[in-house]
Amino acid sequence: MKRLIKYAVLAFAVAVVTHLATVLAAPYVLMDVAMARVSKADGINHWTHPPRTTETSRKVVRPSPDLAYSACVYDLDGGPVHVTASAWDDYMSVSVFAHNSDNIFVINDRQAPQGVDMIIVRKGEPHPPGAALVVESPSRRGIVLQRRVAPTQERWEAANAARRHDICEQLKS
């Protein structure tokens, strides 16, 4: 009996540790999966402009069919990353998500009516000279996401044209 209790306590302790470890690790694992899917076509430090969201869009859960999304997996290993997003005549935002899935930064078209031009650096690293907007990332890798309201095919095509020259790339020295 005493031995049985000993094994039950062991199982319970392992269960508690495994439970907590799973909860803590889940955001990192899910971000890793999302980053792998997003960067599969166009690589790291490069905007990916997927087609209009439909039932076949299965890279990230709960996508909105009324938004034109663009995503870029950033990696600061080689230095800061330069991100631009052209202006849009409706709601538009550019947001940055750290490896733990936290939304560490967001800016929208009202705050940046001429479009977004920003540099992502590793937290604690020096800011590039002359950079007007710098985002400090606590993690080496993460995702930059662009959203443009585009609820019709016509508006989606306009959004697709507007984002064509947007940049997400390692900062040129």
């Binding site: 392992v14 269960a15 936290d102 939304n103």
Partner: protein, 196 residues
Amino acid sequence: MRSAFAVFAAVLVGIAAGFGSAWLVLDNGQLLSRTEYDYWFGNEKAGSTAADPYTRGIIAKIGLLALNRSETIYFHRYKDQDGRQLREGCVYEMSGGNLPARWWSITAYAGDDFLPVNGDGAYSVDATQLQRDADGRWRVRIAATRGDAANWISTRHAGSFNLALRMYNPDAGARDDVSTIPYPTITRLNCSEGHA
């Protein structure tokens, strides 16, 4: 030898129980019901850097890349007006008025948290495309077939589904106190046989 096997078995059972219970929690968006109004529920920590590990984990599982509340308010709904799970086999009417945000939308998701695979292209309604009554109010049929509805969200092949309400650039009043939001009502009208 026997005791080594027992230790091994206890560890295995612990790992399975710990992983399974964690996944059950993370996979259940309804556990996020920190704030709930008429079965619409949300969490003010969604997307924020102040989220506790459970909130962060659940959001990562069911709503990865969600924005923080200063930018967007998200609410989710899994139940009708009487607390019954939303189902493909039933017809619902959703109605409401203007919502306090620059732009908003309501989207149906199947149980796997992706858009239902049905080819109807009627996944959502949004503030700019809704057909409204003369007084500005609107009604949406949520069902597997459109019927003669002006506004329709298709739930064909959605199974047990849920809805997401997104409010981008919410007004200051809504941001400060989400209980002031006039949430749309959802009424179950009827169900086909086998879905009562």
